[in-house]
């Protein structure tokens, strides 16, 4: 049954869209129902889904994808400054410009493979980051970050007769402010983008093109002797994932029209690797899951402090309460990264397939427990490997 549903694209899309669009409702009990966080889920979901097209399908580990996110943000803010506060041109431009950068960086980096490729992407990312702070200050506004101002030309808006009278204007989509509906409009825009992004990724996964990318990961030498020129395949995957990152960057800027170089730091690139790994490399839904989980716990854990911990452990006797607070406090608040690092290590060591593998094992276990079917291949299995069958 499940297998059948998962092999049908329209059904998957229907379920995915329903889950995403109803997120404000079903995330309420989890305390995650506010636009800021929901937007982050969607945007970093897009980023991770795109990254997975490169890393998950081809196995090429890039440590520089935050560069494209940053470039997307800068492009979008410039579009707000020069053209219009409408986010659609901003997002499209963000994807195009990121795509161009990805084409150049990818073309050079993909001349090498394995760890050399990783280090090339890292070197390009570090260059971009350093340049954003130094030479390109006129474009990036250096450490302050790129911001809007009332005096910006906004050519298209001016032509349409939209004048800014007081303060800095807000981003909109054809007149509807992104901040409207208490901010939920911004979430729905990001959610629709996420659904489109997921659909494209689904199509790629289940296309001959996607299967060839997986074959490159599995045995690149064989691919060459089978008659494929692997480099253009890899470059295409690289550019697509760069454009996904650009889209994510553009959306970030659409919600908060700011762009800073810190988004391009290589630890930020590490974060998207982390999301992808945590959810499940090379699986359809895993990266999205990883992004959501990391952003959710980041939000909860990093906000906790000792007094709140005392509240949480209030039900314990006084001594136990003190003890628990002492034990837990290094892992929350400022120490959230410690938790993240540990979780990450645990996943890489014990569960290289991420949460998806975990779920898969769990399904298998339950099946065996109830003696349902002899085959160990479960639904999640089909999604991750057997797209063609």
């Amino acid at each position: 049954m499940i297998k059948k549903i998962l092999s049908s694209n329209p059904l998957i899309m229907l379920i995915f869209s329903a889950v995403v669009l109803s997120a404000p409702i079903w995330l309420t009990p989890l305390g995650a129902n506010y636009p800021d966080l929901l937007q982050k889920f969607a945007i970093f979901g897009i980023f991770a889904i795109g990254y997975n097209i490169l890393f998950g399908l081809t196995g090429y580990l890039s440590f520089g994808h935050a560069t494209f996110l940053g470039i997307g943000s800068y492009t979008a803010v410039w579009s707000f400054k020069l053209l219009t506060m409408n986010i659609l041109p901003a997002i499209i431009l963000a994807m195009i410009v990121s795509g161009v950068f990805a084409l150049v960086i990818g073309y050079l980096s993909l001349r090498r493979s394995g760890i050399y490729f990783s280090i090339l992407t890292l070197a390009f990312a570090q260059m971009a980051y350093s340049l954003a702070y130094s030479v390109f200050t006129p474009i990036t506004n250096g450490e302050t970050g790129l911001q809007l101002s009332q005096q910006d030309p906004r050519v298209l808006d001016a032509m349409a007769g939209i004048a800014v009278t007081d303060g800095i204007p807000s981003t909109n989509l054809f007149g509807t402010l992104i901040k409207s509906m208490d901010g939920y409009f911004g979430f729905y825009v990001a959610a629709v983008m996420l659904i489109i992004a997921f659909y494209i990724s689904l199509k790629i996964f289940r296309s001959p093109f996607g299967m060839k990318l997986r074959a490159i990961k599995s045995n690149q030498t064989r691919m060459k002797y089978t008659g494929f020129n692997t480099r253009p395949y890899l470059l295409t995957a690289f550019v697509i994932s760069g454009m996904y990152a650009g889209l994510a960057g553009g959306l970030l800027a659409s919600i908060d029209p700011l762009a800073g170089a810190e988004r391009m730091q290589w630890t930020a690139s590490g974060e998207v690797v982390l999301m992808t790994i945590l959810g499940g490399v090379g699986t359809l839904i895993g990266p999205m899951l990883g992004a959501t989980i990391i952003k959710y716990f980041e939000n909860i854990f990093s906000a906790l402090n000792d007094s709140e911990l005392h509240n949480i452990f209030d039900f314990l006797p006084a001594g136990m309460q003190e003890f628990m607070v002492t034990v837990v406090s290094p892992f929350v608040g400022e120490g959230w990264h410690l938790t993240l690092g540990l979780v990450f290590m645990i996943v890489v060591i014990f569960l290289p397939g991420g949460i998806m593998q975990g779920l898969n094992n769990l399904f298998g276990f339950i099946k065996r427990l109830f003696g349902l079917g002899g085959s160990s291949s479960s639904a999640a299995d089909t999604v991750s490997k057997g797209e063609a069958s």
């Binding site: 196995g59 580990l61 050079l108 001349r111 090498r112 493979s113 394995g114 760890i115 050399y116 990783s118 280090i119 090339l120 890292l122 070197a123 390009f124 570090q126 260059m127 350093s130 340049l131 702070y133 130094s134 030479v135 390109f136 290589w266 630890t267 590490g270 690797v273 790994i277 290094p330 400022e334 120490g335 990264h337 410690l338 993240l340 690092g341 540990l342 990450f344 290590m345 890489v348 060591i349 290289p352």
Partner: protein, 338 residues
């Protein structure tokens, strides 16, 4: 001419640190076949060994301040001073160089635990997995350090006697007023001697010979019946200690903070790649070369022509070397070419 001399010294100094970190990194590559993204964190731990040792030496007790007679005043006095008077003060003054003896066992222990507990299990896994797990470990180490020492850089002074500057100008027959910090000169000498020691160890001991043979051709060495695996622990320990020592002595130059490792990690990876993966000589050569290049790129005259070049020169060199000569300056064929 004066400016050039200073830049050469600066470059050699930086190069010394790069070379030391890259040496351990490339040793781990070459023998264990492991890509260690936590290597920068080991450098950082070394620097914090100096900080910690200093803290231990200055554990204090409140003592009545006799110089103030109007009221009872107290001041913090380290136990060492109370027990040994001026000798104690001198020991505290020399805490950084002395912490070398503290750092060696500590780092060795860290290295052995890390190899036995984690790295060992990743010999047979993909490089991507190695990168990822050590990246996670680097974050963990970094956050633990931050938990105990805070986020701010901790100034860790060099001994009083070498806190001044040496008249290098006079020494080289240039401008009399040209000076250079003593500690940086010491660091250069220190890094050179550690490099020499590592090379001597690998060259003149039987253990070193096996390690070098293992770097050249692991399979053959295993066929000879030599248990390479057991020696890996020691090699990893050496790499850890070298990175740690590089960090200890760097503490007076750059006040340690918890993320200094990450900054140096990326740089030292570039150094290793430029030198050639698994080439010890290449790592040293590339370390000094990149240090010098970086120094010269930060001269105002150069920056005037190529703005921002000082920020990116190292990465630029890495990209060019990787694209033109993928094996690096001195790398051998087939090392780490997936």
């Amino acid at each position: 001419m004066d400016a050039i001399l200073i830049q050469i010294l600066n470059g050699l100094d930086k190069g010394g640190a790069y070379a030391l970190i890259a040496l351990g990194l490339t040793l781990t590559f070459g023998t264990l076949g492991v890509v260690n993204f936590a290597h920068g964190a080991l450098f950082m731990m070394g620097a914090f060994c100096a900080v910690l040792f200093n803290k231990i030496l200055t554990i204090s007790k409140k003592v009545k301040d006799e110089s103030i007679t109007f009221f009872d005043a107290y001041k913090e006095t380290p136990y060492l001073e109370i027990w040994w008077g001026d000798t104690g003060t001198a020991i505290i003054d020399y805490s950084v160089p002395l912490s070398i003896f503290f750092a060696i066992p500590v780092m060795l222990l860290v290295g052995v635990i890390m190899e036995r507990g984690l790295i060992k299990h990743f010999y047979k896994r993909e490089h991507a997995d190695q990168i990822l797990v050590t990246f996670g470990l680097a974050i963990v180490i970094q956050e633990i350090i931050r938990h105990f020492f805070g986020a701010n850089p901790i100034p860790t002074p060099a001994p009083e006697i070498v806190s001044g500057s040496a008249a290098v100008g006079a020494f080289f027959g240039l401008n009399e007023n040209l000076v250079y910090p003593w500690w940086r000169l010491i660091y250069l000498a220190f890094s050179l001697s550690i490099i020499a020691a590592v090379f001597a160890f690998l060259k003149f001991t039987t253990f070193g010979m096996v390690v070098r043979a293992g770097m050249a051709d692991r399979e053959t060495v295993e066929l000879l019946g030599i248990n390479v695996q057991k020696r890996f622990t020691v090699v990893f320990g050496i790499a850890t200690v070298v990175a740690g020592l590089a960090g200890v002595m760097y503490a007076p130059i750059l006040p340690p903070d918890y993320h200094m490792g990450m900054d140096f990690l990326v740089l030292s990876f570039v150094v290793v790649v430029v030198g050639g993966m698994g080439s010890l000589g290449g790592a040293v050569l590339a370390g000094f070369m990149l240090g010098l290049l970086q120094s010269f790129a930060s001269m105002n005259e150069v920056k005037a022509i190529l703005p921002g070049i000082d920020q990116i020169i190292i990465y630029l060199v890495a990209v060019v070397i990787l694209l033109v000569r993928p094996r690096g300056l001195m790398g051998r064929e087939g090392v780490f070419e997936d």
